[in-house]
């Protein structure tokens, strides 16, 4: 069996995730991997905040946490704080973790919803260990003891995307990856199959391959420009189409979470890293100019700006077939969903790991392609619904953008989910993909969608007993919290371990 010739077009987070995974996890007999990137082309590099899944990816690749944290100026992430979404001035954290413990054989939210109605339960936050740790700026790895409340969360990283790509590049090159500096100037297709046969570089070199991975970002050089895989536009659901990004200096302790603040024309991210804080304003160009966005952003930084604001343009949506012919799009070439829930790198990771499971030969078996596209579609659809919920369940700003998202027709899948939660406090668990019921619960409650009912299983709880149980959980969280070091101390420990 001759090894499959894999050509990755484009570096950046997606390109290097693909390259690192293929070279580290597949034997040389399976494939040869080349990555073509040009130093002339900048990387977008906004995906600085991640989901816990990235840790499992690193584990598979044999990446050492302290080394990675040191190399990418990473911080720990326990969730996302949403400021001013449900209503002006409010704040909630969507944690990587659950709430409370099951009560009377029902999921926590049922007893909690009853407690709310009886006036004996607080908002959800004090029952989540992850939220408590985030608010207190504390961090430790989750306990392996499942009975310990300190086991009820997961964590991710916030890191410098440029350093991340560089780190993965070193890792991949250490495993024998061949990188070619160059710009693709032409793409040649096979006359009969329509598959991509080769790409031609500015140097004149022709790079032939069996499988092409399009990591060229928004340009979508192969999947879009060459193969014209149709684009499904979601602008009507997620109308923001610009971002202005700028780093600023750190001030004070680093918080172990990402922050997303609602603004008149969109929202602003705040991502603390060890060496600086990443900031960006995601907005709708129909509402404000780039200059106005830059001014708003600069006026709302937690520290002095370290550079000029940099504009980015995008369009929410996805390719209807991320894998077309012998070309698989990974990352922004495949689709874009704004970084409100830090899903960009997750979606790239899922594309890479799904491709590993469905690895083709040459020519590509269409059954593998079909399954890949089914799985990727499902992931995009689910993330889309979750993002739309954030925009929809709001009450603050009265601009065109916010009026539109509050009143627009929702996808049926989302409308039914909201309706079910409101009527029953129940959230269905998917067998795979994002997001878990705890996440939906966090955003529902955080943005004012209150269940009007709860499971009748908890009707039998005496109010006193319920109040006592809720109080116990709250104290368990508070007590366990005092045993955690500060996030800054944890980072110092990791630095020391890496040295």
């Amino acid at each position: 069996m001759t090894p499959l010739r894999v050509v990755i077009v484009g570096g950046g987070s997606s390109g290097w995730m693909a390259a690192a995974a293929f070279t580290c996890l597949l034997p040389p007999s399976a494939c040869t991997v080349r990555l073509i990137e040009s130093d002339e082309i900048g990387i977008v590099g906004v995906g600085e905040a991640t989901l816990p899944h990235v840790r499992y990816f690193f584990e598979r690749l044999g990446i050492d946490e302290p080394a990675f944290v040191a190399a990418t100026e990473a911080t720990m992430k326990l969730g996302i704080e949403f400021v001013g979404w449900g209503a002006p001035g409010d704040s909630y954290i969507h944690p990587f973790g659950g709430y409370g413990r099951p009560i009377a054989g029902a999921e926590f939210q049922h007893a909690w919803a009853r407690g709310r109605r009886l006036g004996i339960a607080k908002r959800l936050e004090p029952y989540s260990f992850a939220v408590a740790a985030a608010r207190a700026g504390r961090f430790a790895r989750p306990s392996p003891d499942r009975s310990d409340i300190r086991s009820t969360f997961d964590y991710a990283y916030q890191f410098d995307a440029t350093l991340y790509a560089r780190f993965l590049r070193a890792h991949a090159e250490g495993h024998g990856l061949r990188r070619t500096e160059g710009r693709v100037v032409a793409v040649t297709r096979d006359a009969t199959s329509g598959d991509i046969a080769s790409v031609t570089l500015a140097s004149g070199e022709v790079v032939a391959g069996d499988l092409f991975i399009d990591c060229s970002g928004f340009r979508a050089l192969l999947i879009g420009e060459t193969l014209a895989s149709p684009w499904q536009d979601w602008t009507h659901l997620l109308p923001c189409d610009r971002a202005m990004a700028v780093p600023c200096a750190n001030t004070g302790p680093l918080h172990p979470y990402t922050k997303a603040t609602a603004r008149a024309a969109g929202w602003q991210w705040t991502i603390p890293l060890q060496h600086r804080t990443g900031n960006g304003y995601v907005y709708s160009s129909a509402l404000i100019s780039d200059d106005a966005a830059a001014a708003t952003l600069l006026a709302n930084l937690p520290g002095p700006a370290l550079a000029e604001p940099r504009p980015l343009r995008f369009r929410s949506g996805r390719r209807t077939a991320s894998w077309t012919g012998n070309c698989v799009a990974v990352g922004l070439a495949s689709g874009f969903l704004e970084p409100l829930e830090s899903t960009s790198l997750y979606l790239a990771q899922i594309a890479v790991t799904t491709l590993l499971d469905l690895w083709p030969g040459s020519p590509v078996d269409p059954r593998l392609r079909a399954e890949f596209n089914r799985r990727i579609d499902r992931e995009y659809d689910r993330v889309r619904d979750f993002l739309v919920l954030h925009y929809h369940a709001t009450s603050g700003y009265d601009t065109d953008l916010w009026r539109h998202v509050r009143t627009m027709t929702l996808p049926d899948s989302l409308a039914e989910k909201i309706e079910l939660f409101r009527a029953t406090a129940h959230v269905t668990r998917y067998h795979d993909g994002l997001f878990a019921p705890e996440s939906w619960l966090a955003v529902f409650e955080g943005q004012g969608i209150v269940p009007t009912n709860h499971s009748r299983i908890v009707d039998g709880l005496e109010p006193d007993a319920l109040a006592r149980r809720l109080g116990e959980i709250e104290r368990e969280v508070a007590t366990a919290l005092t045993t955690l070091p500060s996030h800054d101390d944890h980072l110092r420990g990791l630095r020391a371990a890496a040295a």
């Binding site: 597949l26 029902a106 590993l356 690895w359 593998l368 399954e371 079910l420 009527a423 009748r456």
Partner: protein
């Protein structure tokens, strides 16, 4: 117009209504709901259950092991016999751990391509134990190798009696009779069930495990050609197998359930009844006594919760056979019901979710049931038609993907997961065209040595297990 739900009538025959009533009585006791069970005549000869039911038994206070010892048997899985290829086993357990990034099924595929002459099932502790007449309960060593579980074969009457006892203890009222009229209130909700005995049961919600006059009657038919059924019993097998068998005949499938003191046979077939007993007898390899014959129309009711009538179990799914017990559908429905149980008789908040999930779960069970049928290699026209006929889309996709690279494309609400699908696909003789190169990192010699080590481990484990029958003698 609102009517608070304080009274629930649970209607049906066999174990399903008792399970439902026991669970609801336990869960809704504090919510002021009174439960009445309306029992219709008819008790199944034997019942095969899937592993998860043991958890439900614990919750309602049924001692599964005691039931098994009294009149049942344990089941480590199902053996498929006579489908045209080799016999194969679908165990209630796994086939061994991944090695690093490489899933075991991919490693197995690779080893077989390289000349390994061992069946997939030989890597299952469950299958190996079952085939040697042994039984075991998972311990640390077996669990480290694979999740190993078991279901039960239960004597119908003994099981119903045990369920009735716990249900009565939980405070449910019991009435015998068959509902003949469902009277509705002004809002169109069922308010009263009139029984053939003349008794009238007032109720706010009806949960039914059987067809009722009040049920909507739109059915989705499943592409299974067996339209007749014969139930029979024979003598107990000497060396009592801890597994069920699904035996293909020229025009049907006979499920054979060993019990400690009898063998139950459930034969589903297409066409006339004349030769059915002879075919079932041949399949079971023993003399049989006919218990019942009836018609069969495999399918699923389109909407299970309409108004204040909620259909579960056989009222939703008509699909029999040891690999797809309807009781599992009852269990799934109950898990949803206790969460979504209405407060008002007209409340429909949970109905859409209940109906959606019930339909998905039922259709996936049907897919799993269909898989060995459509992968058969028999020559008879009915079997050839099953092989070439149109399949539900998700099943077609699943089999296509397995044929392409041995991956299992799981959908939502699947009861049977990777190991079960792999067992059916490999067992039916499918050979994936390729496998993920994640399985290619190990050297040939390393892989061969590891597989040999695993087979030895299974031999040693099984060698130390007691005979199945030894588990059924009461503990001293």
């Amino acid at each position: 117009m609102s009517r608070a739900v304080t009274r629930v009538a649970v209607v049906g025959a066999g174990p399903a209504p008792w399970l439902a009533a026991a669970v609801l009585a336990g869960s809704l006791a504090g919510s002021g709901v009174a439960i009445t069970v309306i029992t219709i005549p008819g008790v199944p000869t034997a019942v095969a259950t899937l592993p998860p039911l043991a958890g439900l038994h614990r919750r309602i206070g049924v001692d599964s092991d005691r039931l098994v010892r009294a009149a049942g048997a344990y089941s480590l899985g199902v053996q498929f016999v006579g489908f045209g290829g080799n016999d194969f086993f679908v165990p209630f357990g796994g086939h061994g751990p991944a090695i690093g990034d490489a899933p075991f099924a991919a490693l197995y595929s690779r080893a077989r391509d390289a000349g390994l002459r061992v069946a997939f099932e030989d890597f299952s502790l469950n299958a190996a134990a079952a085939k040697q007449g042994r039984f075991f309960v998972a311990d640390a060593a077996s669990t480290a190798y694979a999740l190993c579980d078991h279901g039960f074969h239960l004597h119908g009457a003994a099981y119903v009696a045990a369920l009735e006892a716990v249900t009565r203890r939980a405070g449910a009222a019991v009435v015998a009779g068959t509902p003949v009229v469902a009277e509705r209130d002004a809002a169109g909700l069922v308010a009263r069930l009139v029984l053939d005995t003349g008794a009238v049961i007032e109720t706010d919600v009806v949960i039914t495990c059987t067809d009722l006059p009040a049920l909507s009657d739109t059915w989705t038919r499943w592409p299974i050609p067996f339209d007749r059924r014969l139930i029979a019993v024979g003598a107990a097998l000497d060396r009592l197998p801890a597994f069920g068998r699904s035996v293909a005949t020229a025009r049907g499938v006979a499920d054979i359930l060993p019990l400690v003191d009898a063998t139950a046979v459930d034969y589903r077939f297409a066409g006339a009844d004349d030769a059915a007993l002879a075919e079932a007898t041949a399949a079971a390899g023993m003399r049989l006594r006919v218990v019942a014959r009836d018609a069969l129309a495999p399918g699923r009711r389109a909407n299970s919760w309409v108004g204040n009538v909620i259909a579960i179990g056989e009222a939703v799914v008509r699909l029999d056979g040891v690999a797809t017990p309807v009781l599992h559908m009852v269990q799934l429905a109950l898990a949803l019901l206790v969460t979504l149980f209405p407060r008002d008789a007209g409340e429909q908040a949970g109905a859409r979710e209940f109906n959606r999930r019930t339909a998905l779960a039922a259709d996936r069970l049907c897919d799993f049931h269909l898989a060995p049928l459509c992968l058969n290699r028999r020559a008879e026209p009915i079997w050839a038609a099953l092989r070439t006929g149109e399949l539900p889309t998700l099943l077609r996709d699943k089999l296509d993907l397995f044929a392409a690279n041995g991956e299992v494309a799981l959908a939502s609400d699947e009861t049977f997961l990777h190991d079960s699908w792999q067992a059916v696909c490999f067992g039916s003789g499918m050979v994936p065209a390729r496998t993920t190169p994640l399985a290619d990192r190990l050297r040939d010699a390393e892989l061969a040595a590891e597989l040999q080590r695993r087979l030895r481990f299974i031999r040693e484990q099984v060698g130390a297990m007691p005979e199945h029958r030894a588990w059924l003698t009461p503990p001293r």
